[in-house]
């Protein structure tokens, strides 16, 4: 009961503060979601962030599935390790594309009991859908392509960085109407736009959906250094050397000759 009051208060205050509210009506059903933040700034002290999402389900007994997906997609090279003699080293190299940089699913129940295969495919929910969409090209090493091994390894890598996650029954719906949950944006979540799409589903049918957006950007010194390092390599390199020499000489002065 106490939790419900807190949730209701938070929800009411957020609504009254006129934070971004995005709603979309599908038929007669109105579905509203709100978030505690729309922007994450990466600065010197950044080590990841957490954003809470709240919503009201338009129909009792319905389930909620929320998908977080980055606008940025991966276009990268992956190495598959194999044993060469005694050592483990890269034996195959793949180029993968058309797969999101960050992908998370939260749901109020078991996904296979909420979604039909067709609806899951239509909404892009589940790793199998991502695997099917992923474009894979073997660029080095001998055939065959090992799609399952590459995808599973890729997901394992992403899950380790908390960039991919499927958390079933993570969303709690109180009194069959109000729900809340949070997404963690890990430190490795890079700059860009992230869409959070909430779906209300009942009896295998989509009743309503709502969109939220979160933008991540590097600010201050971190933003400046990143852009310098990425876009102006020569200037950044010269700056790094000048700063290093100056710092070294300064430290040498402080410690009378330096420690080395």
């Amino acid at each position: 009961m106490k939790r419900l009051i807190i949730i209701s208060l938070v929800l009411a205050s957020i609504l009254s503060m006129s934070l971004s509210i995005k709603a979309k009506e599908l038929g007669e059903k109105e579905f509203v979601t709100v978030s505690t933040k729309e922007q994450i700034n990466i600065d010197l002290r950044y080590s990841g962030d957490r954003i809470y999402f709240f919503g009201t389900v338009p129909e009792k007994g319905a389930d909620v599935v929320v998908k977080l997906i980055s606008s940025a997609t991966e276009h990268t090279k992956l190495t598959q390790k194999g044993k060469v003699g005694l050592f483990w080293m890269g034996t195959k190299q793949y180029e993968i594309s058309n797969i999101p940089f960050m992908y998370k699913i939260h749901s109020s129940g078991k996904l296979n009991s909420i979604l039909t295969t067709t609806l899951a495919k239509e909404l892009g929910i589940g790793y199998e859908i991502l695997k099917g969409n992923m474009e894979l090209k073997l660029v080095k090493g001998e055939a065959p392509e090992e799609r399952d091994i590459v995808f599973d390894g890729f997901v394992k890598m992403k899950e380790k960085d908390n960039l991919y996650r499927i958390a079933e029954q993570r969303i709690k719906i109180t009194q069959e109407r109000v729900f809340q949950h949070y997404f963690t944006f890990p430190q490795k979540a890079k700059e860009g736009t992230y869409k959070i799409i909430s779906y209300v589903i009942k009896g295998g049918k989509l009743l309503a959906m709502s969109n939220d957006t979160v933008v991540i950007q590097k600010v201050g010194m971190e933003g400046w250094l990143t852009r310098m390092a990425r876009n102006y390599g020569l200037a950044y390199g010269i700056m790094a050397v000048i700063v290093a020499v100056s710092a070294g000489l300064l430290v040498g002065l402080i410690f009378k000759g330096g420690g080395h």
Partner: protein, 310 residues
């Protein structure tokens, strides 16, 4: 808590952990009189810094750490400019090739393997030799023998017969310019690949093989290290975009403080005890890296191009 976001490594690290690693390596370098770059890169790799960023930022840190020492040695007249410039030219050639090799290996997907394999070899060799030499010295000192002095070696005699003979005034020797150039290139290449200054190879080479006096060897080495690693830093920033200046500066702070304590601790330990301790540390890191190459990885799939900023 006390986390700091590194913009090029693109990750958050504990400030005190990095200061601690810098401090530990600085302490060891103060204690043992070595640069410590060869320990810093593998330690950073162990805490999750991408190998390419660890190596490039370590080079940047060495520029800082070496500059004050180089200036001090120059003032004391311990730098043979001619020798330094020859080694430096070699270092620039080797470093430039090394940076391209890093780029090629990263694209090939085997950079992590290559850097770890080179480290296993180098640390194994350095640690092993140091351990055996220290044990021998300990045994001799117990038996009351004095250690043998190095004089003119077969190598240094051989180089006097090669073409392009030059007299190096400060070092007080005459030798072929080809040899210091070749050594400079090799160490420059390693500096790019491993993020090391190369003092642990260069100084013994200059003393035992080229035949230079110890103080001049150390001064000349520091002089060329600053320029070689500055070139590597510049190249890494331009080609691989992997220099994290924040990381380099934090490491510098830690290593400078650590080095002060290390230098003081030297007075309380005997030379061979210190060297055995360093050898054990070096061998432990070597074993950890070797195990990484031998055991089945937790994930057979990895990014081909590791490093931030992309």
């Amino acid at each position: 808590m006390f986390n700091i976001f590194l913009p090029v490594a693109n990750m958050s690290v504990n400030l005190f952990l990095i200061l601690g690693i810098g401090g530990l390596v600085g302490f060891l370098s103060g204690l043992f009189g070595v640069g410590g770059g060869f320990l810093l890169t593998p330690l950073m790799m162990m805490i999750g810094i991408p190998p390419a960023v660890a190596a490039a930022s370590d080079s940047c840190q060495i520029v800082a750490a070496g500059s004050s020492g180089a200036l001090a040695h120059k003032r004391m007249g311990n730098v043979d400019m001619k020798m330094g410039i020859t080694i430096l030219l070699g270092g620039i050639v080797g470093g430039t090739i090394g940076v391209q090799a890093v780029k090629y290996l990263r694209e090939l997907g085997n950079f992590e393997f290559a850097i770890k394999a080179v480290y296993v070899l180098m640390l194994g060799l350095v640690g092993g030799i140091m351990f055996l030499e220290s044990l021998r010295t300990l045994r001799k000192s117990r038996e009351g023998e004095s250690s043998t002095e190095f004089s003119s070696t077969k190598f240094s005699q051989l180089f006097t017969r090669l073409p392009f003979q030059v007299h190096f005034k400060r070092a007080g020797i005459q030798t072929s310019i080809l040899f210091p150039f070749f050594i400079g290139s090799s160490v420059g290449f390693l500096a790019a690949l491993m993020g090391v200054g190369g003092g642990f190879i260069m100084v013994p080479t200059m003393i035992y093989i080229i035949g230079m006096p110890t103080v001049v060897a150390i001064g000349t080495d520091l002089f060329q290290i600053v320029f070689t690693t500055a070139n590597v830093t510049l190249m890494q920033a331009m080609v691989n975009h992997t220099v994290d200046i924040e990381l380099a500066l934090i490491l510098l702070c830690g290593s400078t403080i650590g080095a002060q304590f290390g230098a003081r601790a030297t007075k309380r330990l005997r030379g061979e005890q210190i060297r055995i301790l360093l050898a054990l540390i070096v061998l432990t890191i070597m074993i950890k890296l070797l195990v990484d190459l031998l055991i089945t990885p937790g994930n057979l799939i990895g990014l081909s191009k590791v490093g931030g900023g992309h």
